[in-house]
Subunit: 155 residues, 2 copies
């Protein structure tokens, strides 16, 4: 019986350790890489919307890119700036200013503004009226700039 | 009159050049950086779905990540492998094998399989039954692996 209990305990401890290992958060450098990647993918899709607005307008392509921007924003940009990632190297040294991590309320507000305008862009892109998309794209751009001004170091 | 036509011609040429410049495709190294970023963002969201399936299941978080994966796939992975990006360095030297660019039909098929399963994952994640999400997540993983096996060089 003692042996059985000991064995059960060992199995339980091992299983808990495995569960903890599975749920371990990503390493800071991995999370920084993912956040740098996220902003690059937003840049890619921004560039596609811009190219459509300045050239031949393809409703479907704009809608797809606007959806991608909105989905990335909805997935939560804030989660990419978890504590412990204030400094470090992903693809390159982080460009996030220390202030971003100190003023969570302001950061949440700026991410929220971006999120609101990104979802409105996706809504308008699905309708497909280039003039309205252009105006909304400019509004979205202002929310990018506001956050960069406060929280992104010059490169 | 001659002067007017000449001037008009010059203006037209200048305007066309400007339009072309605006629509210029991104540089190969920029596109490679964007595609490497896209797959990293997919990896990030995959890791979040996985963590939820292996730990505490948060329906909203899984849905957001599944939506992000689907939206990136819908935006068109194929466009990230444009001609001229067979070789080059984004964040690092491209891992895409030359075969990907030679067999467009097979590449489109593999991206299509991924796209189908990614959208099904987003649909099931919105319903929120972890068992069904887990099965579908495994199906999605197989489409990742199929493409990596054929077209991604070992690192």
């Amino acid at each position: 019986m003692k042996k059985y209990v000991k064995c059960l305990l060992l199995v339980t401890v091992a299983a808990s350790a495995a569960a903890l290992a599975q749920q371990a958060p990503p390493k800071p450098e991995t999370l920084i890489k993912w956040r740098q990647s996220t902003f690059q993918v937003i840049a890619w899709n921004n560039s596609r919307v811009k190219a459509n607005l300045e050239g031949q307008y393809n409703k479907e392509e704009v809608a797809k890119s606007a959806n991608a921007i909105a989905a990335l924003s909805n997935a939560g940009l804030g989660a990419l700036f978890a504590p412990g990632t204030e400094q470090g190297k992903g693809w390159h040294d982080t460009s996030a200013k220390p202030e971003l991590f100190k003023d969570g309320k302001r950061a949440a507000e700026l991410f929220g503004n971006f999120n609101k305008e990104a979802n409105e862009l996706a809504r308008l892109a699905a309708v497909g009226e280039p003039g309205a998309v252009k105006e909304q794209f400019a509004r979205l751009g202002k929310t990018c700039k506001a956050c960069h001004d406060d929280f992104k170091a010059k490169e």
